[in-house]
């Protein structure tokens, strides 16, 4: 063909397996031999070879990122089981079995959607952005936030809050131990935090919830989860795309930034291979996205469009393909209509570019003019680049020439991936050996409070605007002492007291010992955090960060964690509504610590009933609910003592009853403060309740309800799940105990006016005796001064 631009026909039909693989690698499309053969067969049927644009399209669509091959594939275990579609069997099946009437849209759109109040719904999405952030921390993290905000806009929701959960190597990691190409945790940390703040602050979306973890296992693989929550009127969830509708591309211009593949032109390959090995960096521009947000909400409110989606991984190729497929039609796109940052882009680059701040809007032709008006008023660029069609084909033109023409049925039915999972008995760690009890538990407590995993994250949180929009009713930093809270509460509607409750659970230190109980613990923690402030009717999001699933041991632990998700979700009767997996997190230092993030989104009918963790009134009794067991495997206590054994906390079916009891007590007003023991156990949780308030406490280990006999230090620092610490209103103890009937609970002490945290041993002798201001300063300044 003699065309006025560069386009290549790739000879698949004449290629043997070796050549097929070579093509896959050279084009950077990441497909395996079986997939390449499958494509070859398809084009044989079409009677021609594919173009580079077509191969790129297939590569993007079938990528792990876009298609979730592993989760939707077939897993064969080494003990002979076959799991057909892990995602459907364990994650999606929960919502199917529970079938809650408040789930509006799960797993099918850009974000999960659940009912809120007064005709409104909540949309949530959490994404991983590990790989880009490892290469370019600021840009990677910023575009992670930008991307997940677009997912929420992509279901017509107006963003009200951002979430960020980050895992780093130790900040004091020895420079000389860093392998080449791996950036120092401190550098990544600063850049990533700055990137998250930059995007949210500039867009005016408060960053209100998240977590930061440190572990050696993240030195080679930094983990960045970015989440966004939005609100939409239920009747404005516009999705009725029909053949004939226009395709409008709006927002930032399309550029070479964020192109994952390498160029195919073999003549240029050597020259460009150096360039290609460089980061495929996306460039953030939050102001562009803020303008997009305005326009999208206006278009939504005027009911002008028939569909919307964001441009994320795979760019235009994924956005148009997936939209056409979802609405059971086809599409024709003219690439020369796309507005470019860089005029010399090739057709395939335009097609797969992942430039940020772009959205695709589908609209009946008669509404295009009005939509363009709105976009113009908001100072946005836009172009009508094609339309949806009757035949189920994806047709791409450039300057009028066809550069791709693919059947959507073929494009969306890739061969199933088959993975092997090596199953090992997961005992949840091993029983701990006996070691001498440290004789100064006060200083152990202070060491724990200053451990980076427990210490206040204030120096980070204050660089995120968490007050913009004026909706933050319960803040990430509580009160004037900036104490810890378990969940954030947003009050998004001026006309209603109802709140959205956001919390998370993440237990990386358990993952190395027991992927199964790590996952179950993360769910328990996310739910408990939500309950502590008064959240209920939770929906969960699961985000997996794992190593290469083609390696049987990684696949084995992944399967375990996925199974645990089903087990734990059923205990709490709580559905998953969205999530994401990021696999292949491997570095010269080995695979990433297997990490599951659970995000819980609850609601509270009246934010005025919300409870915070700080003690309120001296003299009030303190209760512990739930049993403390000898479960210290992976605990912070064992980390600082360097004890390597121990059982990871488990989750028992009886845990399912606790949340509703606590919620009832919160609603009846008898709970003054509530906090969940997690890292550092009861001792740290109680210390936090003190330091947040300035009040002291006096507690007796002998009164703590135990699941088995154990030493006092283990009682104080055990991280058993399914426990709460509550301050009960002084004259309401009886009512409280009635509400807790049948559940292990006990009064362990009192809130005191004197600012001292006192803990007594079994024999009544003092174990811990620390001034609350010392606790406060230790906890608050540890990370700041690093």
């Amino acid at each position: 063909m003699d065309l006025p631009f560069e386009i290549y026909e790739v000879d698949l039909i004449g290629s043997n397996d070796d050549v097929l693989m070579k093509i896959s690698i050279e084009m950077g499309i990441g497909l395996n031999a079986e997939e390449m053969r499958y494509i070859k067969e398809y084009f044989k049927g079409e009677g021609r070879n594919p173009t580079d644009v077509e191969l790129q399209t297939i590569g993007q669509t079938w990528s792990e990122h876009c298609y979730h091959k592993t989760f939707k594939g077939i897993v064969k275990t080494t003990d002979g089981r076959i799991v057909d579609n892990m995602f459907r069997s364990y994650i999606a099946s929960v919502v199917k079995e529970l079938n809650p009437d408040w789930c509006v849209s799960v797993f099918e759109d850009n974000a999960g959607i659940v009912d809120f109040v007064d005709g409104y719904a909540i949309a949530v999405k959490v994404e991983t952005h590990n790989h880009p952030s490892a290469i370019e921390p600021f840009g990677g993290a910023a575009t992670g936030i930008g991307g997940v905000i677009r997912d929420v806009l992509g279901v017509w929701a107006d963003p009200i809050a951002n979430i960020d959960v980050l895992c780093f190597g130790p900040l004091d990691y020895d420079y000389s131990k860093l392998p080449p190409g791996v950036k120092h945790p401190r550098y990544l940390f600063k850049g990533i935090v700055a990137g998250i703040g930059y995007y949210g602050n500039n867009m005016g979306i408060p960053t209100v919830s998240g977590a930061i973890c440190f572990d050696e296992g993240y030195v080679g693989n930094v983990v960045v989860y970015c989440g966004c929550v939005g609100i939409l009127p239920r009747d404005r969830y516009l999705r009725k795309v029909r053949p004939g509708d226009s395709v409008i591309l709006v927002g930032g211009r399309t550029g070479r930034d964020g192109i994952h593949g390498v160029t195919f032109a073999s003549t240029e390959l050597t020259k460009e291979s150096e360039e290609a090995s460089r980061p495929a960096v996306q460039i953030p521009n939050p102001i562009e996205e803020e303008k997009l947000r305005r326009a999208i909400i206006r278009i939504r409110d005027e009911g002008l469009a028939s569909g919307i989606t964001d441009l994320g991984g795979g760019g235009l190729s994924s956005a148009t393909g997936e939209t056409a497929n979802k609405y059971n039609c086809g599409a024709v796109i003219e690439l020369s209509k796309v507005k470019l940052k860089d005029p010399n882009m090739r057709p395939w680059e335009i097609w797969v570019s992942e430039s940020q701040e772009r959205m695709l809007i589908a609209s009946p032709p008669q509404n295009v003019a009005r939509i363009m008006d709105i976009l113009d008023e908001e100072d946005l660029e836009a172009a009508e680049i094609g339309r949806f069609t009757e035949p189920r084909r994806l047709k791409v033109l450039y300057l009028g020439y066809t550069v791709a023409d693919l059947s959507l049925d073929f494009l969306f039915s890739p061969p199933r991936a088959v993975r092997t999972a090596e199953v090992k008995e997961d005992e949840g760690g091993e029983a701990d050996f006996d070691f001498a009890m440290p004789n100064d538990l006060s200083s152990v407590l202070l060491r724990l409070l200053s451990s980076p995993n427990i210490a206040s994250k204030e120096s980070i949180i204050r660089t995120y605007d968490h007050e913009v929009k004026g909706m933050t009713a319960i803040k990430p930093l509580q009160g004037l002492r900036s104490g810890p809270n378990d969940a954030a509460v947003m009050k998004p509607l001026p006309s209603s007291w109802a709140g959205v409750v956001l919390s998370c659970g993440i237990k990386p230190s358990y993952g190395k010992l027991s992927p199964y109980w790590m996952a179950a613990s993360a769910i328990d923690e996310a739910v408990r955090n939500n309950v502590c402030v008064g959240g209920r009717r939770w929906a969960l999001l699961d985000n997996f960060t794992w190593g290469n699933p083609e390696k049987p041991d990684r696949m084995g632990s992944l399967l375990k964690a996925v199974e645990a998700c089903y087990y734990a979700a059923k205990i709490f009767q709580v559905p998953f509504i969205s999530g994401k997996d990021s696999l292949y997190n491997e570095s010269p230092l080995g695979p990433v610590t297997p990490t599951l993030l659970i995000t819980a989104v609850g609601i509270i009918p009246d934010v005025r009933k919300a409870v915070t963790a700080d003690f309120k009134v001296p003299g009030d009794p303190i209760y512990v609910i739930g049993l403390t067991r000898r479960e210290l495997g992976g605990s912070e206590y064992y980390r600082i003592l360097n004890v390597k054994s121990g059982l990871v906390p488990r989750l028992r079916p009886s845990a399912g009853e606790l949340p509703s009891r606590i919620i009832r007590a919160i609603d009846s007003g008898v709970i003054m403060a509530c906090h969940d023991p997690s890292e550092g156990g009861l001792a740290v949780a109680l210390a936090e309740m003190c330091l947040a308030s300035g009040f002291g406490a006096e507690v007796h280990t002998s009164n703590v309800p135990l699941g088995e006999p154990m030493r006092e230090d283990l009682v104080l620092f055990s991280e058993s799940n399914s426990r709460f610490i509550v301050e009960v209103k002084a004259n309401a103890e009886e009512e409280f105990c009635t509400l807790m009937e049948g559940i292990p609970h006990a009064k362990i002490g009192y809130v005191t006016k004197s600012p001292t945290f006192l803990v007594y041993g079994f024999d009544g002798k003092s174990l811990v005796d620390v001034n609350v201001d010392v606790l406060w300063k230790t906890w608050r300044n540890a990370l700041t001064s690093r």
Binding site: I287, E290, I461, E467, V468, G470, G479, K491
Partner: protein, 266 residues
């Protein structure tokens, strides 16, 4: 006569308009959020409003300097209208980015009530080199020329949050003298007990000269401030209502209420 009208102006990158509207609506003003393009295209006229609010955000991406582009654009299009607005004693309030806009456009400090051709002050990058989102203590100066102030005890300490990366108020010596002479300092950062922050971080969160958090023009009807009263308008927005008890309104309401009642009296 109908209710007094408030215009909350916005451009690309403005993002604190909605919460500002919620508060002003609650105060009984008829509040509209207007894109500057609507004024340009003649869909709305500034003249029809009694209060102009320039809200917070990152107008035009804070390119060049925070507020610089918007400040200049606004003046190049509406200098006459804004001058008239000020001369008619209507109220102009800039919050955060809005304060930056008023300073960069030369509307503030506005000595002699006039708009200066070049900016006479700057809101430089915070001395902490970071974006700062925190609750600060604020003292307002009853003796200042500002006519938009609440009528409260001189030693009342307000708690209102800030959220900005460029809030370090700096002026040359000469301008500072004029500011003092004309009584243009409206708000200063202070310690919880009301004593001056004296530049001490984080009481003074950004390094501002004389702990300045907000100033007005000599006429007293244009005010700019870095803290966000609209984020502390309702009691449930305050940081410690769960321990101190829930009040219907927060400290920011005092500031906004005073502005609204000034406008009502016009």
């Amino acid at each position: 006569m109908g209710r007094k009208k408030a215009c909350i102006l916005r451009v690309g990158g403005t993002n604190c308009d909605l919460e500002t509207k919620v508060a002003l609506d609650d105060l009984g003003l008829e509040t509209e959020i207007i894109h500057m393009n609507h004024l340009l295209r003649g869909h709305r006229r500034l003249n029809d409003y009694s209060l102009l609010v320039i809200p917070g955000g990152f107008s035009y991406g804070d390119y060049v300097r925070a507020g610089a582009i918007w400040g200049k654009k606004m003046l190049s299009k509406f200098k006459k209208e804004i001058e008239e607005f000020i001369e008619e004693d209507k109220a102009v309030v800039g919050i955060c980015n809005g304060f930056q806009v008023l300073v960069e456009s030369g509307v503030l400090p506005g000595i002699d009530g006039s708009i200066s051709e070049y900016p006479r002050a700057t809101l430089a990058t915070n001395s902490s080199a970071k974006y700062e989102c925190r609750w600060i203590h604020l003292k307002y100066h009853q003796a200042s020329s500002c006519r938009l102030l609440p009528d409260l005890d001189e030693d009342t300490v307000l708690r209102i949050p800030i959220g900005h990366g460029e809030g370090n108020f700096i002026v040359g010596e000469e301008v500072l003298e004029e500011i003092k002479r004309e009584g243009l300092v409206v708000f200063t950062y202070c310690k919880p007990d009301g004593s001056p922050a004296n530049g001490e971080y984080p009481y003074n969160p950004n390094g501002s000269m004389l702990d300045i958090a907000g100033i007005c023009n000599s006429r007293g009807n244009v005010m700019g401030m870095m803290p966000h009263p609209e984020r502390a308008y309702f009691g449930w927005q305050m940081p410690d209502w769960t321990s101190r008890g829930l009040q219907p309104y927060g400290d920011g309401s005092l500031v906004l209420k005073a502005i609204a009642s000034y406008v009502e009296r016009l």
